[in-house]
């Protein structure tokens, strides 16, 4: 027996919609400084040799900031693409299949980036 207020405060009919909305904002805020950092590092690595790139990631702060970037970026991307697919793919089966496929691809790319950064860093 829950009061109407309790039900409204807890979860709506979608059960987890607020988390999606909130996570999208949190990752967006995190990406403000991280994407500026990313743009500056790309400029500094313009015309860099592979050794210079490796030396860049061997600096612990660079590796850590890039891992933060990868985490926030791919999470933000997953949330964003999901909303776009939910809006435009009208058949339920295709919608679920496309969301799962894109999520899988995003997870794969995120791991590939993280492992590459760690390999260059260590």
């Amino acid at each position: 027996m829950r009061s109407n207020l309790g039900r409204a405060r807890g979860l709506g009919s979608a059960k987890s919609g607020l988390h999606h909305w909130w996570a999208q904002r949190v990752t967006a805020i995190a990406l403000l400084p991280l994407s500026l950092y990313f743009v500056l590092t790309v400029l500094s690595l313009d015309h860099a040799t592979r050794d210079q790139v490796a030396a860049f990631f061997a600096e612990p702060w660079n590796a850590v900031l890039y891992l933060c970037l990868i985490a926030a970026l791919f999470y933000h991307l997953k949330l964003g693409v999901q909303v776009v697919l939910e809006d435009y793919v009208h058949s339920e089966g295709t919608r679920m299949a496309s969301i799962l496929l894109v999520n899988g691809a995003i997870f794969f790319c995120a791991l590939a980036c993280a492992v590459s950064i760690l390999k260059l860093a260590l």
Binding site: A28, L32, V39, L43, L73, I117, L120
Partner: protein
């Protein structure tokens, strides 16, 4: 008519003409005249999707650097070719637009800037800032370093 609910899809446009109500995403152009608000909104989605595809480039760059000298020199040749530069240019435009308009969205989430004149001004500001940041980036990339 297959479904009686189809009757609800008939409406009148601002000129009083009978039309079939438009359904997302095919509303810009045919149903709506051009407005800063809708244009900046759909651009946010388009640049977001473009950046999503662009993360494949970021992934390729990092993986090739980790793989070794041979893979990295191939990646360098591809990204440094004229075709690569055009793709990277598009990537920076999308990134700076999504960055600036994202700040606008966060301000709206905080309840600020909802008045129409403010919203139109901030929309123009986003487009100007995107142009300035993109030009500044490529001026630094091509001529300074």
């Amino acid at each position: 008519m297959k479904d009686v609910r189809e009757a609800l899809m008939i409406g009148r446009n601002t000129e009083g003409k009978l039309v079939r109500r438009p359904v997302s995403p095919f509303m810009l152009g045919s149903a709506y005249r051009f407005q800063t608000s809708s244009a900046t909104s759909i651009m946010h989605r388009i640049t977001g999707c473009a950046l999503g595809v662009g993360t494949l480039l970021l992934t390729y760059w990092l993986v090739s650097a980790a793989a070794g000298d041979g893979a990295y020199s191939i990646a360098e040749a591809i990204l440094g070719s004229w075709f690569g530069i055009i793709i990277l240019f598009g990537f920076t435009v999308a990134l700076f637009y999504h960055f600036c308009n994202g700040i606008r969205h966060l301000a709206w989430d905080a309840g600020k800037g909802f008045e129409l004149p403010d919203m139109h001004r901030s929309g123009g500001f986003v487009i100007a800032a995107t142009a300035i940041l993109t030009i500044a980036f490529w001026a630094l990339a091509l001529f300074i370093w």
